[in-house]
């Protein structure tokens, strides 16, 4: 199947290169052949970047200042961390009964020279909490950053997570969402964000001085389905993009993180990944090789 489509992809890629942002033809790879990275997303409680970087609260702030990534210390223990926070043992003033502490997710990525394909699959954990988002049982978003924001290569999405954001205990402004300190699209200091929702919506935006969920030009498609208790969500995204989109180039790595709003949750009550690297034709924590 793939070898039949291959010439088409080359043609589309060539056309895209020649004429700029043409709509790219989406042809997902054979996921059975794409290796999966196992990344466990966990419930982060109230642990904004202000907490992460405060040495008297978080011992790892010292290692972070020395240039260590969050994942270098915590990658193997995210399930334990999530359990502590979901149960209210740590950093969660209002625990949700039955909230899953963590969700192991298989992450696969590939590209065809024109599009990046990213697939997330996971088993639906138990839930049953009050519905914060009545429309969506599940939402999944991932973010990319092009090594411009200080610390983004260490702490991933945490650079956008602040104590004064909505739904945070200290958040006073219901409209205040994620933002990057000194963020600006023009200055390249932004995270590119795409989101899929189980109701069927897809968003392509960015997070700079504020969060903008739509208007991006890179996202081609985002589809998810649930078979039994297994979710799978596939994003198709152009390697190139417009304003607020990170343009992806072969041989480079990008800061990458993702989050799942499980069990009709909203705001900060999500499960998040630590910061990882997405490599395009080069080794990353998640690697997208050309198919």
């Amino acid at each position: 199947m793939s070898h039949i489509l291959h010439p088409t992809r080359i043609a589309v890629a060539a056309a895209a290169l020649a004429f700029g942002a043409l709509p790219a033809f989406a042809a997902a790879p054979d996921w059975g052949k794409v290796p999966a990275a196992k990344i466990t997303v966990f419930y982060p409680g109230v642990s904004p970047i202000e907490w992460i970087t405060k040495g008297s609260e978080h011992g790892g702030a010292r290692a972070l200042r020395k240039g260590e990534t969050c994942a270098s210390c915590h990658h193997d223990e995210t399930a334990d961390m999530g359990k502590k926070m979901a149960t209210g043992q740590k950093l969660e003033p209002s625990p949700i009964k039955g909230k899953a502490g963590s969700i192991p997710v298989q992450v696969q990525a590939a590209h065809d020279g024109a599009n990046l394909y990213v697939r997330f699959s996971w088993k639906q954990p138990a839930g049953g909490a009050d519905k914060m988002d009545k429309d969506n049982a599940v939402k999944l978003a991932f973010m990319l950053e092009d090594n411009k924001i200080p610390g983004a290569n260490l702490s991933g999405c945490w650079e956008t997570c602040h104590s004064d954001a909505r739904t945070m205990p200290e958040g006073k402004d219901d409209k205040k969402t994620k933002y990057v300190k000194d963020g600006s699209v023009a200055g390249g200091k932004y995270y590119d964000i795409v989101q899929w929702t189980s109701k069927g919506a897809k968003h392509d935006g960015y997070i700079a001085d504020k969060r903008v969920m739509d208007g991006g030009k890179a996202l081609v498609d985002a589809k998810g389905e649930k078979k039994g208790d297994e979710w799978s969500v596939v994003f198709t995204r152009k390697l190139a993009g417009g304003e607020g989109d990170v343009a992806l180039a072969s041989g480079k790595t990008y800061n990458f993180g993702f989050a799942i709003h499980d069990d009709h949750s909203a705001g900060r009550y999500h499960h998040v990944s630590l910061g990882y690297q997405l490599g395009i034709d080069t080794k990353g924590d998640v690697t997208a090789n050309k198919q």
């Binding site: 040495g55 010292r62 915590h74 990658h75 223990e77």
Partner: protein, 197 residues
């Protein structure tokens, strides 16, 4: 003439050679007396190192001891090894121990004037007290910690990744235990400097 019949002073008596006791007797008495005096002195010092002595003051018992005995690793753990107050706060070697005891005598003054005789007063002074102790431990390269723990004897392969990473960084940056391990036996004070961990 009169001067010759006057009884000698106590110091002169001490200086005068004995005409009654043999050298061996004097030596034995001296050794026994020395052992008794030295042993007694050290017994008293050891007594002041006991947990029961430390928490004889309600200031210690109701504040720092209560926190330590809630659920800290040095109070209760899998192997049942307990570190009591002096294990962490008094050096084991004689010289440093004596110095620490002399320094600690100022605490008697604090006790008399009631510097921290209520919870409120203790909380108000907690940061100062903690910073003083952290500085002491920093200055002696966490001597009391190192009575039991050393970076060299750690098997970091058996540690969790975050502990392994932190200890590797500590070796690399020549850091000492207290640089990171503050507030492991007592609550952290409010108003800690952000660089303190």
């Amino acid at each position: 003439m009169n001067n010759k019949t006057e009884a000698p002073g106590w110091f002169a008596r001490l200086r005068r050679p004995s005409s009654h006791w043999s050298v061996l007797t004097l030596l034995l008495v001296g050794v026994v007396a020395g052992v008794v005096l030295w042993g007694g002195f050290n017994t008293v010092v050891e007594a002041t190192n006991k947990e029961s002595f430390c928490i004889g003051c309600h200031e210690m018992r109701d504040n720092v001891y209560k926190e330590y005995s809630e659920n800290t690793i040095h109070y209760t753990n899998r192997t049942g090894v307990r570190a009591v107050c002096a294990d962490c706060h008094v050096p084991k070697e004689w010289g440093p121990k004596m110095l620490r005891k002399i320094q600690a005598s100022r605490e008697l003054w604090g006790k008399m004037v009631g510097t921290i005789d209520t919870r409120e007063k203790f909380e108000a002074k907690r940061l100062t007290l903690a910073e003083r102790e952290w500085a002491r431990m920093k200055a002696n390269d966490s001597l009391e910690c190192r009575n039991c723990h050393t970076l060299a004897s750690m098997d970091t392969e058996k540690q969790k990744p975050r502990a392994r990473k932190s200890h590797e960084l500590a070796v690399k940056n020549n850091e000492t235990c207290i640089d990171c391990h503050k507030g492991i036996a007592h609550h952290k004070p409010k108003g800690m400097k952000e660089d303190d961990e």
